[in-house]
Symmetry: C2
Subunit: 339 residues, 2 copies
Amino acid sequence: MPNPSSITLEDIARVAGVSPMTVSRVLNGKSGVAAATRQKVMAAVQASGYVPNLNARALAGNQTRVLGMLVPDFSTQYISELARGAGHAANQAGYELVLYTHSHAQQKASTHVTLITRGLLDGLIIVLPDIADQQLEGLHQSGLRMVIVDHRHELKSLPSVDADNYRGARLMMDHLLDLGHRRIGFIAGRPDTRASLERLRGYKESLQLRGIEIDDQLIHPGNFLQAEGVKGAQAFMQLDQPPTAIFACNDMMALGAMDLVRDMGLRIPEDISIGGFDDIPMSAHFYPALTTIRQPLFDMGSAATRMIINMLSDIENPSHQLELKTELVVRSSTGPASN
Amino acid sequence: MPNPSSITLEDIARVAGVSPMTVSRVLNGKSGVAAATRQKVMAAVQASGYVPNLNARALAGNQTRVLGMLVPDFSTQYISELARGAGHAANQAGYELVLYTHSHAQQKASTHVTLITRGLLDGLIIVLPDIADQQLEGLHQSGLRMVIVDHRHELKSLPSVDADNYRGARLMMDHLLDLGHRRIGFIAGRPDTRASLERLRGYKESLQLRGIEIDDQLIHPGNFLQAEGVKGAQAFMQLDQPPTAIFACNDMMALGAMDLVRDMGLRIPEDISIGGFDDIPMSAHFYPALTTIRQPLFDMGSAATRMIINMLSDIENPSHQLELKTELVVRSSTGPASN
DNA sequence: CTGAAAGCGCTTACAG
DNA sequence: CTGAAAGCGCTTACAG
């Protein structure tokens, strides 16, 4: 058996005694091939271990059947859950999913995106883009099939998938408020994300609805990273009147807040309650297990993939701006207000 | 400005008033082009936003300058650290790194690997392969540039990168033994990995060296997942004579063991010590912070990438089997034996 | 230092 | 139901 990677479609044609065209047809599952012919071709493919060259296929004008997912990094479970969902949906539909990041790249992000997309990918899922809206728009105009997960601002024109961040924040706040908390610290997320802004809006409106004044000292900037959770909690605990609860904009920052608070010798939730956002798998194993807002990450990933595949099939896709529900998951890090 | 994705090298040639050949030369940084010509071409490229078609480039016989990393899943920080390192080294050398998994794929893993590799990737890093050794060997024979990270068994012929797992296990055991522990439970990793076997060997030999008999009840099978850590710890704690320390084969299983032990109302490390392996970033934030063995994951990823790039450049690469050092990181989950 | 030709391995119209 | 031709956008020898 020769080296599979040097076998071409023409070789198969020769062995099967048909034209390359016919081999192409059976390989692509097209109709209009006699059963007997199909058999012969299949047999030759099986016997040789032939695998089509994706570059040639793509160049000849069709598609690669590989989808890309561009992520800010590989390090959080937020990303991995999204990727699991996207990968699952892609494979269901006969596509490959490939992940990449441009955090290290020297080139401008947009060039980078164009480069890898030109020919290699049929479509792209962009998670938490740190590319300017205008450039994204340009990419979209230029015909790149894409959907944004957790987009920046109000790109109403671009296909996107998000969770209902505002409502999620409201749920967490109502939970905390119902437990009697009145001073609640808020650690914000990356300020260039709509998700973060929406959660902040939920925080503020929840307070207002109960007639509680917003105290700017209780709002700390953040960036979704653990270390910022530590800093936020630290700032809060140095206040004359520290909060009795902290609502961190994601689970990793909640973890950071827990680290700090525990280092100070406080008990969770007896002395202070802590809530997160995301419900990454790990959060159930924090100590104490984290009360958080569940984003359907897996579903968001698969929904994004299905949207792209629909675009590829030119199927009309009415819901270009998908928003999935969030829900409160009560575990052990929140309890009645201590004072 | 026309749609960048429809501009070809020929368009640039026309605009710059040179032949396509010359454009190709400047794009690829080849010598033997007049400075003035180079300038003209560059200007045309800049103005148009031209980006080369990777498929055409690859098909024409060269390379894509994209490397792949095939991983069992995207969900653990063990993977993300490896990917960070690999991505960094790739970008340093002007390559892209793309991640993918075949866990959902219906097809046989090897077909899958061949498919995506045919044309799309210049080389492949395979992490914790669950592909039969023989098939890997076949892939290698067929000319695929690859390196295995954490390989299965004794594939001496394949390029690989590993940590010194045996020594790592010895370090943890010596630490525990020095703290006075005599009954130490061991939760094993995925049995088809060499890493797991080597750690088990380290466990056993450490005991023997101190003249402590090996008790099979204190060795529990595992698979590197959190849930298996829970089960292992559970089995140990039901013993007539439970261990005073547990050494889990990776950090995620150590986390599981911590979960269980705490649910039983035991204190860590006062009542029982727990040690892990990997030193994933999260482990410093477990409660209590985990004592573990550090694998240089980032470095392993970048070393693997550099090995592939060397192969691509036909640079002789003497050290085809790289083994990186492990070290003990003492934090708060281990302490003196309690009885 | 620069260019004309052939070809990489496929697929898309177009015939029959 | 099947095939001969042209072409996708590049690059590799080969000339000059």
